[in-house]
């Protein structure tokens, strides 16, 4: 079974999943080409409002890259993305460790945490703008307020979820606290933490773009808005595609890290006994 519920990880031994022939790549590519072709032909035949044909969109994207206009906004977005994620991890992991180890502290804070994490981060936009203006600080604040929760909760789950038999094994062999942290708690929680980071990475990008569109702050989001306001429709689509590619790359990288951290996990094992 797919323990972590991620699509990337569906190389899990369900018979149907395995029986997919190599021709599948052909089918996938075929589907994508077919969609693009229908789209292109549709636009050429009739008028679908503001939607440009794929070729036009592609040209706009190539222009963005060729003119070197793509680098600065992407860098802006990535900076706030990374900074927000880093701050979230710096807060979320230590607090999560404490909450995971101590049940009474966890219960003391449970209601507060449940409440805080359901507050939509964007509700803080007006306050953030008021306090920090429209720069990196505002974006980082909004991102952190959203990303700290998945990281913190995953850390709690990870620490909590140590197998009691493994725990007793360590106790009966008189494993010292440092060794226990290093060889039991950390590996056990690493998978959860990696999952939390992957989720947070996606949320962070979503909020970077949101902040850029809403505040507005420099970055891809602002470029999308400006292209739309300026009537440069193909350029707007090109920026949207750029945002999508960024999302895919980030997701892909974090899924890989997660898979590495969970190498030993039943959902990741290939071959060998079960």
């Amino acid at each position: 079974m797919t323990v972590t519920g991620t699509r990337e990880r569906v190389a899990v031994p369900t018979p149907r999943a395995r029986s997919m022939p190599t021709g599948a790549w052909g089918a996938k590519a075929g589907f994508v080409v077919a969609v693009l072709a229908v789209w292109e032909i549709g636009i050429r035949l009739g008028d679908f409002g503001a939607i440009p044909a794929p070729t036009v969109l592609g040209k706009a994207l190539v222009d963005l890259i060729a003119e070197g206009r793509i680098a600065a906004p992407v860098l802006d977005t990535l900076t706030s993305w990374a900074l927000g994620l880093l701050v979230s991890a710096a807060i979320g992991v230590p607090v999560g460790l404490v909450l995971g180890v101590s049940t009474s502290i966890y219960r003391l804070c449970r209601f507060l945490l449940d409440f805080l994490r359901t507050i939509p981060s964007l509700a803080l936009v007006p306050l953030a703008v008021l306090l920090y203006g429209s720069g990196l600080a505002s974006k980082t604040l909004l991102i952190t307020f959203a990303c700290v929760w998945p990281i913190m909760l995953q850390t709690v789950y990870g620490v909590r979820d140590i197998d009691p038999v493994a725990e007793e094994t360590c106790r009966s062999y008189r494993i010292r606290p440092v060794q226990r942290a290093l060889f039991l708690i950390l590996p056990s929680a690493a998978g959860y933490l990696a999952t939390g980071l992957r989720i947070a990475a996606g949320v962070s990008l979503l909020l970077s773009l949101s902040a850029e569109i809403i505040i507005p702050a420099p970055g891809i989001g602002q470029e999308i808005t400006m292209a739309q306001l300026g009537g440069a429709v193909p350029t707007m689509y090109a920026w949207i595609v750029a945002a999508g590619v960024l999302g895919i790359v980030i997701n892909f990288l974090f899924a890989r890290v997660e898979r590495r951290a969970l190498r030993w996990h039943p959902s990741q094992r290939q071959g060998g006994g079960r």
């Binding site: 797919t2 323990v3 991620t6 569906v10 007006p126 959203a146 959860y192 808005t225």
Partner: protein
Amino acid sequence: MTRIMRILRTLAWEFSVPLVLIVLWWMLSGASGSLYYPPLSRILTRFHELWLFERFTTDALPSVTNLAVGYLSAATIGIGLGVAMGLTPWLRETVNPAVQFLRALPAVALLPLAIQLLGIGWSMKAGVIFFGSLWPILLNTIDGVRSIDPLVNEVARSYRITRRQQVLRIVLPAAGPQIFVGLRASLSVAVILLLASELVGSTSGIGFFVLQAQRQFNITDMWAGMVLLGVLGYLLNLGLQAIERRVLSWHLASRRKNRPEARSQTKKESAVD
């Protein structure tokens, strides 16, 4: 008697920190003359004046309606499509690349596009919410359907259970826990997108209200709106949790009994995108 005492003690323990914080906020904000942090007492008075229920119908209700329309249609289509794709390997494999791109695309990036296409009315907001919350539901449903033990489906086949019955009585309940993971993840995305759409292109809604209050330096009103948003987000989650507890009561009970199951489940729950 002892049980009541125990429950009371638990409650006292769990609510002590929030209470202390609220009291601290009350006292600190009451004393400070800061422009940005008005006294909590004034915020609550404004909250009462605004939302109970003078501006409730004009500002809060449209927000909630848009959210409901977008989220519920995403849930319906996401679960329906997810079951179909989960049960049909060729469909799933073929559509997969497109799905992967669309779900990795941050939905807010489509806001300007949606405004261009649909204007700034309710359809734009519901549409953006729909688009953003569809993917977690769809992907988790597919995942839930696929991870059903093949044996269960073979039992169904050996008893010659009809396809319809199989989907209703076996596939949906078995995939239920994972579907709810998707529903929960989608809810928070939906609230983010509701706010994003109201902050960018709108003339009504709580988000619009809050932004306007800030631009007019009506700081107390801004705080009152933010408090409403917090309460709203919390209540929505509570509601979904109540539904989940009803629908999945069998699952929660078995989970409590069976620790290994619980292990994988905690992980699953948190593995939302």
